[in-house]
Amino acid sequence: MELIKIDKKAWAGGLEKLSASYALYGPVKEQHFCNFRALEKGEAPDLSGLNSRLSPKGVVFPQSQVMFTYTVDENQAEHHILQEAGEKASDRAVIGIRPCDAAAFLMVKQNFDTPEFKDPYWLKAYEATVKVGLACNDPCQSCFCTSTGCGPFSETGLDVLLADTGDFFLARALTDRGEHFLKTAGWNQAAEADPLESMKKKAEEKIVSAVSTEHLKDKKTTDLFDAPFWEEVAFACINCGTCTYVCPTCWCFDIQDEVQGKSGVRMRNWDSCMYPLFTLHGSGHNPRDKKPQRVRQRFMHKLKYFVDRYDGGIQCVGCGRCVRLCPVNIDIRTVCELMNNFELSQC
């Protein structure tokens, strides 16, 4: 579709118009880093910095989400009957999603939207969300998106791709919804030139980090499972949930009932395979009660089970958040290399 030029002077006015039709979300700087949240009236997304500290997955998949409400008051006719929380997913636009995080939405979709099962909460929010991406002119040193089938100018999963040229943004609508978004904002000035390809090339050249994944598929699952390196990989791990919570592709959740007084909610909350409680059975048995087992699970899921199950590469978009934020510097790139290069004879 046509490339649009958005003068930065016309940016605030466009956002203003958009806010009448969409709930706007974007990265906002609080303290020293950005996170995605709903923008207040007149607030502009901060598109100047590096990628957000937490991924924008929470816009579609909140850390804590009420699914049902109920009353336990037996005087009420409907007591103990779950009522849909009925939270309407209003039309929203997330501005400034990085291409890696947009690709992650599609990865997560494979789990929440299958022919057999559809997760109504995730899907409703996903479908209500227009994803307006911001290409990365200066990818981080710990980004390795070009080796995960993504890239700093990747269009996968986006409705609009924005690129910052300094004085103005270039915008390309990638879907009808994207086109509608740009029209609503009143951004319709055609760009005189199309430097996107050369900007993309420049950005890709700046990616200094890579992982090799080509052998993962052919490795035997049991060989990797029993590989001797897990103890060493797991040594430093403190089994916190940081890697899983900052990850745009981690989708696990836990369902909880909470009652206060007579009214209750059934909610779901992010969960993490790093926690022992994640796999604790009702019997008291825990199949993954040791740290190395949990560490292995995270990497095996991302780098082997997912590869085999969906045949579309690893469950990682190379955003580098877990690498940057792990308190003890466990690095998925290192583990991926170990797994990809593992030969049984090493035992």
């Binding site: 804590s64 919570y245 909350n269």
Partner: protein, 315 residues
């Protein structure tokens, strides 16, 4: 700090060869700038992988909990105080340990450096008490003293308190440090103000539990927030549950916390939760003249009774 590494390698190698330890817990070089990774070195031929610089802030005592066999460990002042606490609390015994003590001049706060640098840090070096960081086409140098972890800047026990061997000469301890200025500020608030302060302090928490898991004191087989039969604390993002976690965790550390800073250092969203443990540390100091982890012979104040213990709280 840098000059220690040769000595540390020598001592660790000797420990592996002659001291009957099955491994030495130290650090290997990190894969990102300003970070190192805790590492259990087992073979003398790997000794050059050990590193020591101003990015070794993780408290290694966390890796000793419940370990069997004999181990070497590289210990800064705070790690050594947590080793003492671990010995007192029967999490490891003294004769299992070969402690290579490292006098410390503080560890740097990578998040603070990143914030000051205002750009991605691509490389970092340390030279003559300065941290030199590089980004895309730009270099900036910070005096280490200006970018220390907050707990290191006010540290009173830089030298290891328990060790088998020291990797360097002891360093001068800091004097006239105002440790509790921030705590006093909170103490002076009205209850409403204080509640608001705690709400703001903790509202960004994502409950990843990195603070708890990085803490050598938090070794409960099942933490109270993970108890499911019965369940004590809600799992959602309700601020009451979030605050319950942080407050109770802090109370569990009363009289035990060495202010090693592991909790704040590990937080992915920059929460300054040390204010909670510092308040309890200050109370223990004022009421019981107690500082944690200085002496393996002395029982901590909260598991002993003395007739002269303060009882002003009984009205």
């Amino acid at each position: 700090m840098l000059e220690y590494i040769q000595k540390i390698r020598e001592l660790a190698k000797a420990a592996l060869k002659d001291n009957g330890v099955e491994g030495v817990i130290g650090f290997r070089k990190g894969t990102v700038p300003l970070m190192n990774e805790p590492y259990l070195i087992k073979k003398p031929e790997d000794i050059d992988r050990l590193v020591w610089d101003s990015h070794c802030g993780i408290n290694l005592t966390n890796y000793l909990t419940g370990r069997k066999g004999r181990l070497g460990i590289i210990a800064k002042g705070c790690d050594s105080r947590n080793i003492v606490t671990h010995i007192i609390e029967n999490k490891i015994s003294r004769d299992q340990l070969y402690i290579i003590g490292v006098p410390c001049k503080g560890m740097v706060d990578r998040h603070q450096i990143s914030a000051l640098f205002r750009d991605e840090i691509q490389d970092a070096k340390e030279n003559n008490g300065r941290i030199i960081v590089k980004g895309s086409g730009r270099e900036e140098s910070f005096a280490k003293a200006d970018v220390l972890q907050e707990n290191c800047a006010i540290c009173m026990h830089r030298n290891p308190v328990i060790y088998d061997v020291l990797a360097g000469d002891t360093v001068e301890e800091q004097k006239d440090v105002e440790r509790y200025e921030d705590v006093r500020r909170i103490e002076a608030m009205t209850p409403e103000e204080r509640n608001r302060f705690f709400d703001e302090l903790l509202s960004g928490c994502i409950r990843c539990y990195a603070c708890r898991n990085a803490c050598p004191l938090c070794y409960c087989p099942t933490c109270f927030v993970d108890e499911s039969r019965p369940q004590w604390v809600g799992k959602g993002q309700d601020l009451v549950d979030v605050k319950t976690f942080h407050f109770l965790r802090a109370y569990h550390c009363a009289g035990r916390c060495t202010d090693c800073g592991a909790c704040e250092r590990s937080c992915p969203v920059g929460i300054k939760m040390r204010i909670l443990t510092k308040k309890l540390e200050k109370d223990c100091l004022e009421m019981f003249q107690w500082e944690a982890g200085l002496d393996i012979e002395q029982r901590p104040p909260l598991d002993t009774y003395k007739p002269e213990d303060p009882e002003d709280f009984i009205k």
